[in-house]
C-alpha cells in the first residue's frame, strides 16, 4: 500500500514537472511577435481574414478581440492593447484622456466602409420603395405613422401604399451602425439634431428595439408594415428588401458598394487631416447617403518600436493588397484617394 502511494506520488510529481516544463517551453516558443488588439465587432470578419493572411505572409501573430468599440477605446486608453478598433472616431476628450495617460497621440486609420440600408416589410408596395431624408426622419421621429401618408405617396407615384401603421425597428444594442444612422438623421433633420442627437445608442422617440442586425431583421420580417435599418452586408447576405434613398443631389440611389465608395470619394475632397470624418449625406450624384468608415486606432509613439514597425507594415498591406478582399466579405473598399491619405498617415507612426 505504501509503495503504491509512493509510486503514485512519484507519478504525480513527474506529471507536475512535465506540466511546468511544458508551460516554460510554451513561453519560450512564442518568440514570434504577437500583436494584441481589441474593439469593434462590425469589421471583425475582414480583420480576421487580414490577420490570417498577413500572419502567414509575415509571421506576425495577431490576437483580436471583437468586444465592441467602447471596449476597444477603453483598452487603448488603458494601454492594454497594441491597437484598437472603433466604428466611431474618438472625441477630443477621449484623445486628451489617452494623451494624459499614455503620453501619445492616436492616429485614426480608416480600413473599410460599411453602409446602412432601410429595410421594410410591405408586400403591397413591392420592391424599390423610395424614401427621402424628410420621410425617414419623420418616421423615426414618430411624425409619420402610416404608410399612406401623403409625404410617402408624393415620392412613390404609382405605388399602392396601404392604410397600415408603420412599425419602426431600431437596434437595441449600442452599435456603430446606429452611430452612422443617427449621424445621418442629425444632418438631415433639425428636429432630430435638437431633440435626439447621435451616438451608438440614443433615446429613440418611437419603435421596437432588436438586438443586433439579426434582431432588427427579425422584427422587420415578422411584422407586416415594419421598417428598420440594418447593415448593408447583413441585408445582402440575407436577401432583405431595402429602399432607395434620396441623396444630397436629390437622386434616389440603391445601396451598393460602388455607391458607398462614391460617397467616400465625394467626402475625400475635403477630408480633415486626422481622417476623423463621418461621410453620411455626402455630395456626389451616385453617393449613397448613409455610410461610414471603421477605424483602427494606433498610437503614434508606441513604446515597443519593434511592434510599431510591424503594425506599420501590416497597415500598408491592408491599405493596398488587403482592400481586394473587402467586397467578397461585403465591405466597401476604400476609394484610392482615401487609401492614399491613409498611407501618408501611416508614415507618421514613429518606429525609432
Amino acid at each position: 500500500m505504501q509503495r503504491m502511494r509512493t509510486e503514485k506520488m512519484r507519478s504525480l510529481t513527474i506529471t507536475l514537472l512535465l506540466f511546468v516544463a511544458s508551460l516554460i517551453a510554451g513561453e519560450t516558443a512564442i518568440a514570434q511577435m504577437k500583436l494584441n488588439g481589441a474593439g469593434a465587432t462590425f469589421p471583425y470578419v475582414i480583420y480576421s481574414k487580414w490577420f490570417d493572411l498577413y500572419s502567414k505572409k509575415a509571421g506576425v501573430e495577431f490576437n483580436y478581440q471583437s468586444i465592441g468599440s467602447g471596449g476597444g477605446i477603453k483598452q487603448v486608453t488603458e494601454g492594454t492593447v497594441d491597437f484598437g478598433a472603433s466604428d466611431a472616431f474618438l472625441s477630443e476628450d477621449q484623445l486628451k484622456a489617452i494623451k494624459d495617460k499614455q503620453g501619445t497621440d492616436i492616429i485614426h486609420i480608416p480600413t473599410v466602409m460599411g453602409a446602412v440600408v432601410i429595410s421594410y416589410n410591405l408586400p403591397a408596395a413591392g420592391k424599390d420603395l423610395r424614401i427621402s431624408p424628410d420621410v425617414l426622419a419623420g418616421i423615426y421621429l414618430g411624425q409619420i405613422t402610416n404608410w399612406n401618408d401623403a409625404k410617402i405617396a408624393a415620392i412613390n407615384p404609382g405605388k399602392s401604399l396601404p392604410d397600415q401603421s408603420i412599425i419602426v425597428a431600431h437596434r437595441s444594442d449600442g452599435s456603430g451602425t446606429t452611430n452612422i444612422f443617427t449621424d445621418y438623421l442629425v444632418k438631415v433633420s433639425k428636429t432630430w439634431a435638437v431633440n435626439i442627437g447621435k451616438g451608438t445608442s440614443v433615446n429613440w422617440p418611437v419603435g421596437l428595439g432588436g438586438k443586433g442586425n439579426e434582431g432588427v431583421a427579425g422584427l422587420i420580417k415578422q411584422s407586416e408594415g415594419a421598417l428598420g435599418y440594418v447593415e448593408l452586408a447583413y441585408a445582402v447576405q440575407n436577401g432583405l428588401p431595402y429602399a432607395l434613398l434620396q441623396n444630397k443631389e436629390g437622386n434616389f440611389v440603391e445601396a451598393t458598394f460602388d455607391g458607398v465608395s462614391a460617397a467616400a470619394s465625394g467626402a475625400a475632397r475635403n477630408m480633415p487631416g486626422d481622417l476623423r470624418v463621418m461621410i453620411t449625406d455626402a455630395p456626389g450624384k451616385d453617393s449613397y447617403p448613409i455610410c461610414g468608415f471603421t477605424w483602427l486606432l494606433i498610437s503614434k509613439n508606441m513604446k515597443d518600436k519593434a511592434k510599431a514597425k510591424e503594425i506599420k507594415e501590416f497597415l500598408k498591406w491592408a491599405m493596398t493588397d488587403g482592400q481586394s478582399y473587402a467586397k467578397d466579405l461585403y465591405y466597401a473598399p476604400l476609394p484610392e484617394t482615401v487609401a492614399k491619405l491613409c498611407l501618408k498617415k501611416i508614415d507618421l507612426i514613429e518606429t525609432n
Partner: protein, 339 residues
C-alpha cells in the same frame, strides 16, 4: 455533512493501517499510528476546503464592492433619484433606472401569474397523486426544462410565440378586453406579454421541483390523520398545502429570482423600449436586458457607470429575493424535521 464524511473516512484509515502492519516492521507502524492523530493529509484537506468555502463569500463581497466602485460616478451625480428617473438618454448623458426596474418587476409578475398555478398544480400531482412510474419520468422531464439554454427559449419565442401572439392572441385580447388598460394599443407580438410567457416557462421547473420537495417534506402522518378523520383527497391536499404555505412561498421567490435575472430570452422578445406603459401588449425593457444590450458600446464614463449601477440594483434585488426564499424554505423544512 462533516459527520457522514468522517464515518466513511474511519474504516478506510483502519484498513490501510492494518495492511501497513502486515507489510512493515513495528517501528514504522508506530510512526504511522502517531501521525494518524494529526494526519497531514486531513489537515490540508480540511483547511483547503474551508479556504474554498470562504472564497465564495469573498467573491460575492468583491463583486458587490467592485460594482459599487464602478457606479460611484453615477451615484454621485444622480444620487437616489437614479431609482426614480424615467429618462435614459446616452446622447445627453442623462440616466435613470425607473423604466428598467418597472420592466423587470412587471415581466416577473406576469411570469409568476402564469407559472405559479401551473407549477403548484404539477407539484401537487407529483407529490400527492401520481403513481411512482409517472412521477419519476415526469419530474425528470420538468427538471430538463431548466437545462434548456435561455437562447433556445429566446429563438422559440421569436419564431413561434411572438407570431402566434401577434396574429391569434393579442388582437382577441385587445378586442374583448378593451376596457382594461392592460390590453390596449397595437399588437406587435413583441412586448411585456411575450416576455412574461417566456419567463413563466423558464421559472416553471424551479418552482415545481422545489414545491414538490416542500410537499414531500410534510410528514405522511398529516395526510393519514386527515384521511382517517374522513377527509376527501381534495381536503387532505388542502391541509397539506396550508402546512406547506411558507415553503411554497419560498419556491415562488426562488422562481422570481430567476425571472428577475433572466437576460437573453427576454431581450429577444420584449421589444427593448425604455417606456412605462400599463398595457402588456406594449414593448418594455428590463435591467438585465439593457446591460446586455448597451454595455459593449458604452463609451462615456457616466454611461458605463450608470449601467454598472443598474447591475448593482439587480444584484441587490436578486440577493434579497434569494435570501428571503432560502430562509422561508429552510424554516419550513426545519419545522417538520423537529416535529
Amino acid at each position: 455533512m462533516a459527520h457522514s464524511a468522517s464515518d466513511i473516512a474511519a474504516p478506510v484509515a483502519q484498513g490501510s493501517g492494518g495492511e501497513a502492519k502486515m507489510a512493515s516492521p513495528p517501528g514504522v507502524f508506530l510512526r504511522s499510528q502517531k501521525r494518524k492523530s494529526v494526519n497531514l493529509g486531513d489537515t490540508i484537506f480540511q483547511s483547503s476546503t474551508t479556504f474554498f468555502a470562504f472564497l465564495v463569500f469573498v467573491l460575492v463581497f468583491l463583486m458587490a464592492y467592485e460594482m459599487y466602485r464602478g457606479s460611484v460616478p453615477s451615484i454621485e451625480k444622480f444620487g437616489w433619484s437614479f431609482l426614480t428617473r424615467e429618462i435614459w438618454d446616452p446622447v445627453q448623458d442623462e440616466y435613470g433606472a425607473l423604466v428598467f426596474i418597472f420592466g423587470t418587476v412587471v415581466s416577473s409578475i406576469v411570469a409568476l401569474t402564469f407559472a405559479l398555478p401551473l407549477s403548484i398544480g404539477v407539484a401537487v400531482f407529483l407529490s400527492e397523486l401520481a403513481p411512482g412510474w409517472i412521477e419519476k419520468p415526469m419530474s425528470f422531464l420538468i427538471e430538463l426544462l431548466a437545462a434548456i439554454p435561455s437562447i433556445v427559449y429566446g429563438l422559440w419565442g421569436v419564431f413561434v410565440l411572438v407570431p402566434w401572439l401577434r396574429v391569434s392572441v393579442e388582437p382577441v385580447l385587445s378586442r374583448n378586453l378593451k376596457f382594461l388598460p392592460f390590453f390596449t394599443g397595437p399588437s406587435y407580438g413583441f412586448g411585456m406579454l411575450a416576455a412574461g410567457i417566456i419567463l413563466a416557462i423558464m421559472v416553471l421547473p424551479i418552482i415545481t421541483s422545489i414545491s414538490r420537495d416542500v410537499l414531500k417534506a410534510i410528514p405522511t402522518a398529516q395526510r393519514e390523520a386527515a384521511l382517517a378523520l374522513g377527509a376527501t383527497r381534495w381536503e387532505t391536499t388542502r391541509i397539506v398545502l396550508s402546512d406547506a404555505k411558507s415553503g411554497l412561498l419560498g419556491a415562488t421567490l426562488l422562481g422570481l429570482g430567476r425571472a428577475v435575472g433572466e437576460t437573453m430570452a427576454v431581450t429577444m422578445v420584449i421589444g427593448n423600449r425604455p417606456e412605462i406603459s400599463a398595457s402588456l401588449l406594449a414593448p418594455g425593457y428590463t435591467m438585465a436586458s439593457v446591460i446586455a444590450n448597451e454595455f459593449t458600446e458604452a463609451t462615456s464614463d457616466m454611461y458605463v457607470s450608470s449601467l454598472i449601477e443598474i447591475a448593482l440594483i439587480l444584484f441587490v434585488l436578486t440577493v434579497l429575493l434569494n435570501a428571503a426564499a432560502r430562509l422561508i424554505v429552510w424554516s419550513v423544512t426545519k419545522k417538520f424535521k423537529n416535529a
